[in-house]
Amino acid sequence: MSTMTREETDALIAEVLEVYPEKAKKDRTKHLASNDVTIEQSKKCITSNRKSLPGVMTIRGCAYAGSKGVVWGPIKDMIHISHGPVGCGQYSRAGRRNYYVGTTGVDTFGTMNFTSDFQEKDIVFGGDKKLAKLIEEIEMLFPLHKGISVQSECPIGLIGDDIESVSKKGSAAIGKPIVPVRCEGFRGVSQSLGHHIANDAIRDWVLDKRDGQAYESTPYDVAIIGDYNIGGDAWATRILLEEMGLRVVAQWSGDGTLAEMMNTPKVKLNLLHCYRSMNYISRHMEEKYGIPYLEYNFFGPTKIIESCRKIAAFFDDSVKEKTEAMIARYQPMMDAIIAKYKPRLEGKKVMLYVGGLRPRHVIGAYEDLGMEVIGTGYEFAHNDDYDRTIKEMGDATLLYDDVTGFELEEFVKRLKPDMVGSGIKEKYIFQKMGIPLRQMHSWDYSGPYHGYDGFAIFARDMDIALSNPTFKNLTPPWKKAVEEEVKKAA
């Protein structure tokens, strides 16, 4: 499948690492590997979830980014206070494109930034009074909010503020839940610990609040877990599940609400899309409420069909029938898309470097379009993610964990993919090198990419990027003339 042999891939890794000092080289070698599909355990070939090397450019985020930006942020009817200095909240505000329905500033608050704006005096004398005042002000200015979460930034942990007690008092005063989240940015090695902390906060402060209350359930209740509705992803997923005859009770957390989260323990099955960021809460619900969870993948028709059948197997025959009918209904549309784009995209090579689930989940979608993924890597994955990735990737393809700016650039220079899928920080570096890049974090301001409808957009976007005539005109005219002369002379 891949054009490289294992020796070539290993040689490439060794060559790229040549510039590092001895100690750094030793550390980085563990994070880079050529894929071996026969290995069951990723641990044997790749190390992950370790502290980044000081002095290299890493693309990772912090625990606050994992909690406020990823897990809590999209819950639309809560107000998420970025507790601490103003920058953390302000520079990440609304950047993730978690779409939602509602009137911003009245009953939904997704794209707004609330911060306690710490000053020197708050660091010196503590910020608890300021937080209490802030909660009062929020209640006065935005009476329709359903609850508040306090997302700690680094100084809160450093100065030892007691946000839990302020939250409890505030909660009693306004009669709405206030959730303190200890997601200070310095915790852990990447945003991954932030996901874990956020999940634990949901478990402790939200999940069991409606236990024992009356609830009209159906045998077909499911929850979408770990879909953040980027560009409308969760909606594209939801319509498929509803067509299968299931009732989606909760969306975690894209376009989700606090009430939905509290109702989740009543569902029959949790559908887990982003394993990395929400497996914690799924495990908890499996143990406490006996709700099984199922990982699924809604990128590209092959994986969608596979996942839908897997989901339907949990339910009775009426769901299975509806699922088959749905698959049959969409098949001609998918065939048309593949017939249109496959000839244009066939054989193109892609390298990916993204976050929690996409480095493995989108491989199927690329393969449906006849493209090949020759390298993939995660910013903050753990060994269990690589266990899953090894099976998806071709033999001897390149795997890179927490890749540094330098390494990724060198790999792209040597492997010469037709396209790179990564984030905004990489986008212009590679485009200036003459390689089209699609942002796979925010779908490059497009989307959705999940579901059947998403695949149509995905295929179009990949075609737009690859067929862009700009990349043929990157050599300026004066250099072109020289090139032709050299050719003539040769």
């Binding site: 355990q41 979830n49 914690y280 495990r283 499996e286 143990e287 006996g290 269990d384």
Partner: protein, 74 residues
């Protein structure tokens, strides 16, 4: 002592250590009878843990306290 969770995976039991976000599959369990279940757990990553033998839990996953006998090399 550490809190761990044992879960029924697709192929056998899996072991999860929340504190370290460590997931591994259990290769062998010392006692596996309805009245006595637990003992030494051997993990596929080379580590081993000990849980006090209990009656076989009616439902998995289950959270337990475990003692570390040997750490996985890393």
């Amino acid at each position: 002592m550490a809190n761990i969770m044992i879960r029924q995976g697709e192929k056998g039991l899996t072991f999860y250590l929340p504190k370290r976000d460590l997931e591994a599959s259990i290769e062998s369990i010392e006692f596996d009878t309805p009245e006595k279940w637990g003992g030494e757990l051997k993990l596929d990553n080379g580590g081993s843990y000990y849980i006090d033998p209990i009656a076989k839990p009616p439902r998995l996953p289950i959270s337990l306290r475990a003692k570390r006998l040997g750490a996985a090399e890393d």
